[in-house]
Amino acid sequence: MKHPLSTTIAVLAFATIAAAPAFAATRYGKGVSEATPVKLSELMAKPDDYVGKVVKVEGLITEVCPKRGCWINVAGDKEFQTIKVKVEDGVIVFPLTDKGKKVVAEGTFKKMELTKEQAIARAEHEAEEKGTKCDASKITGPQTVYQIMGVGAVVE
């Protein structure tokens, strides 16, 4: 009969190997529901209709938070449009290599009214994260910004 310790080691080794990442789609957080995705162009055309609601979007990851992987920008069906999907730090961590991959993400659509100072602070923070310079002079007044507070995503 095998020593119990050897059995434990074998089980742990098996669990480690079995838990190795699959090369198929990667599920983050709670994943996504079966709900029909909303087109990003529709979301941005009538954003106030969706504020506070859970929305599911699909598109291309154009940017990943370079420091903590705690947000992604998703481009949808129309050019020049992206939406930020912000996730809870540490709960979901998007790797930088997810950039350029297809994603389906789900979360609550949020609207934020920023004063000019808040908008500048936000731009400065983003620039710091990206390691770029912030041109605060481009922000001339208050901003309304939208984002999805993501709880789950599936990246292909």
């Binding site: 310790l5 020049f80 930020k84 950039k99 991959k101 939208y146």
Partner: protein, 214 residues
């Protein structure tokens, strides 16, 4: 075998078993503690290039021109424009961001930090599934090691001697830390996550953070 002998044997053998993963969690823990200052799993290799400007047209035409002028290895997997002249090309695990009219481009290649990427992968339970159970078993073993360690020795170096003071200090210190971090005079209850003096939330969370609707 009396209980202390059994305790010591289990403490020794489980200690050997847990040593490797404890190091993984310890090293990764330090790396993750400083996420405000760096990306503990990835580093970005950035290369800047210049090219003869490409006139603004449709995305496919501009993409083809950029591939040629930047001598890129074939068409990208996908592409995107954030503005008519700003084109991004995505390849497998790397990307190009080009300002077509300025004739400048940056090529970004994320690289996993040696060993840290893998350690953080386990520490953050990114694999989920069976690893969740493996990590739970490890946590139970750590709990056992903490308790069994109290009873390894007896006498003046055991729990009844100096051990009680050191073990007590180990309990009091985090309680003191919690008191100073979470409570302020006049509070009626504990403060929420990140609201204390040393709250560790992402700096971006204390002010509105959102993607501009473009």
């Amino acid at each position: 075998m009396n209980w202390r002998r059994l305790n010591n044997v289990l403490h020794r053998d489980l200690g050997y078993l847990a040593a490797g993963l404890t190091l993984v969690y310890a090293i990764s823990g330090v790396a993750l503690n400083h996420r405000e200052d760096w990306n503990p799993s990835w580093k970005l290799q950035v290369e800047t290039r210049t090219f003869a400007p490409v006139p603004v047209s449709d995305r496919d035409t501009m993409t083809a021109a950029l591939v040629e002028r930047l001598a890129l290895p074939g068409p990208p997997k996908s592409s995107f424009r954030s503005a008519p002249h700003l084109v991004e090309l995505f390849y497998e695990r790397w990307s190009v961001k080009a300002d077509a009219t300025a004739g400048t481009a940056t090529i970004e290649k994320p690289r996993g930090r040696f060993a840290l990427r893998e350690m953080n992968f386990l520490h953050l339970n990114e694999p989920k599934g069976l690893w969740t159970w493996a990590a739970d078993v490890y946590a139970v073993i750590l709990g056992f090691l903490a308790i069994s360690g109290l009873f390894v020795l007896k006498g003046k170096n055991g729990l009844s001697g100096r051990g009680k003071w050191l073990a007590g200090l180990g309990v009091v210190l985090p309680i003191l830390a919690l008191f100073f971090l979470l409570w302020r005079p006049g509070d009626s209850g504990p403060r929420g996550e990140g609201e204390g003096r040393g709250g560790g939330r992402h700096r971006g969370d204390v002010r509105p953070e959102a993607g501009t609707a473009r």
